[in-house]
Amino acid sequence: MSETSLSKEETLIDRLKAQFPQAIKDTKIDRPLRVTVNFEKDHVLEISRFMCDELGFDHVKGVAGVDFPTQKRIEVLYFVGSYSKPEVQDLIVILKAELPRDNPTIPSVVSVWQSAHYHERETFEMFGVKFEGHPDLRKLLTQDNWEGPPPMLKDVKFPEMGQR
């Protein structure tokens, strides 16, 4: 494909790869307007700052955890979008980091994206992911006397709801 006919998804991936050749492990265009970027978790702050300041992705739509008990990992997904740059407003970039299941920690992106504040708190509560440097990491949705493990982990089962 020639330089001129690069889609905006490909342009975005090229810029990210050029800036972070080590930190970006894998990229994928799921379909038009959806880009998934797998990255090394320790570089989350540099990548998010670059995306916010240089590429115009100024807010986080959500932070999701996904538990893979058999593979002993927890994935953290940041759904990132843009308000300020009209040409990439329609893109959703999914930044994906893999964390070890026994000690899931990742630097917090609240200093870059303030909008991630409550989303990170929710993921901390539901998956036990510790966001280092989060200004106020405490429980949000579960009741105060909930003492079990993070409820969204796959090994927390609710047999009364059926089989999974």
């Binding site: 308000y83 407003q89 329609d90 709801m161």
Partner: protein, 377 residues
């Protein structure tokens, strides 16, 4: 009572002073919905606020992992019964994407009509409770609720239910437009357009309402983008962002409509965005009824979704609602993530209510149109 420390990044004065007092607003619904807001007041001014949510959390995302794709539809639309079609539609889109199912054009038009009717109903609810009652205006409460019921009756005619429709399944809507529906809907729209003029006279141009809302809770454009707020709250701050235009779904790419935005960013602007959106919804429904093609309404979709993940989004009445659905070759999702407008707008509340009068808090809270159940999931 001993209050938890308020959320730091948004507060100016976190440490309790001899002159401050901590007050718990809610959760027994004194205008806070089913959530609690811990406020620290100094005299009549709010120094800082910390929303304590989760009183109506029921683990929708966890339950979704136990149910198959189709039986997830009713319970995933329950978080917001005022806006059920949009919650339903947002969930169905990524499943269709995983399965590779395309809805026929007529199905898209029917979904669009149902969604815009739902937007009017939801905005009327917001106008009645969140805007009318919270500013102490009882007349608009009665009027808007009365008119909302007319739309509810038509929604019942179309879907079979008044509020929780479970109308859209993977593949398309469940029913075609019933006989006589179009005629009744057009008649209702004629009536409703006249009512909108009266709403303007009695509520939006009412000096007492304007005095309560103008310049109250101003969210500037830059702040709105930084906080990541969405929907009418964002558009009231001057950011033209609407999923119906940004990434058109359903029949929106064929239809002509505007995205109302305001520059002021205050509570009145947020009220007016919803008011203007109702006018646009009327316009959209009229066009859709005119342009609706003939043909099948739905395609058969498999019960199983293949491995992979998909993210779909729609513009709900409270802003963009996105669902990430992860399939694993079974009939149950491996993971469903809901990203909705109420949860994303929550961050604006502690930001907006600091350094305002206690009496202004209900107005600001109402202008955000925060739906606690949707945020808690």
């Amino acid at each position: 009572m001993t209050a938890k420390p308020p959320t730091p990044p948004m507060t100016v004065n976190q440490t309790p002073q001899p002159s401050t007092l901590d007050v718990s607003v809610g959760p027994q619904h004194p205008g806070s919905g089913h959530c609690r807001i811990l406020i620290r007041v100094d005299g009549d001014y709010i120094v800082s606020a910390d929303p304590d949510i989760g009183y109506v959390h029921r683990g929708c995302e966890k339950i979704a992992e136990y149910r198959n794709y189709v039986s997830n539809i009713p319970h995933l639309e329950r978080p917001n019964i005022a806006d059920a079609i949009h919650l339903n539609w947002g969930y169905v889109l990524p499943i269709q994407e995983l399965q590779g199912v395309e809805v026929p054009p007529r199905g898209k038009y029917i979904s669009t009509i149902a969604a815009e009717m739902n937007r009017i109903m939801s905005h009327l609810y917001a106008l009645a409770i969140m805007q009318g009652v919270f500013t102490g205006h009882t007349t608009i409460f009665m009027w808007a609720f009365g008119d909302r019921d007319l739309f509810i009756e038509l929604a019942e005619m179309l879907t079979g239910a008044r509020l929780t429709y479970s109308f859209l399944a993977p593949g398309g809507p469940r029913r075609d437009l019933p006989y006589g529906f179009e005629h009744r809907l057009l008649k209702l729209l004629d009536y409703f357009e006249k009512r909108l003029v009266e709403y303007d006279r009695i509520f939006f141009s009412n000096p007492s309402v304007v005095a309560r809302t103008k310049g109250v809770g101003v969210l500037k454009r830059e702040e709105a983008m930084k906080l990541g707020v969405v929907g009418p709250v964002l558009r009231a701050s001057g950011v033209k962002y609407d999923v119906r235009k940004v990434e058109p779904y359903g029949a929106y790419s064929d239809l002509d409509f505007d995205i109302p935005t305001f520059e002021e960013g205050d509570s009145l602007a947020r009220f007016l965005v919803r008011f203007e959106e109702m006018k646009q919804s009327v316009k959209i429904i009229r066009q859709a009824l005119q342009k609706i093609p003939k043909g099948p309404i739905a395609r058969k979709a498999p019960l199983v979704a293949p491995e992979g993940e998909a993210t779909g989004r729609v513009e709900s009445s409270r802003g963009e609602i996105a669902y990430m659905v992860m399939g694993d070759n079974s009939d149950k999702p491996y993971r469903v993530k809901i990203m909705n407008g109420s949860f994303r707008n929550l961050i604006a509340l502690p930001f907006l209510v600091r350094n305002v009068h206690v009496a202004d808090m209900p107005v600001i809270y109402g202008s955000l149109d925060y739906w606690p159940v949707e945020a808690d999931r």
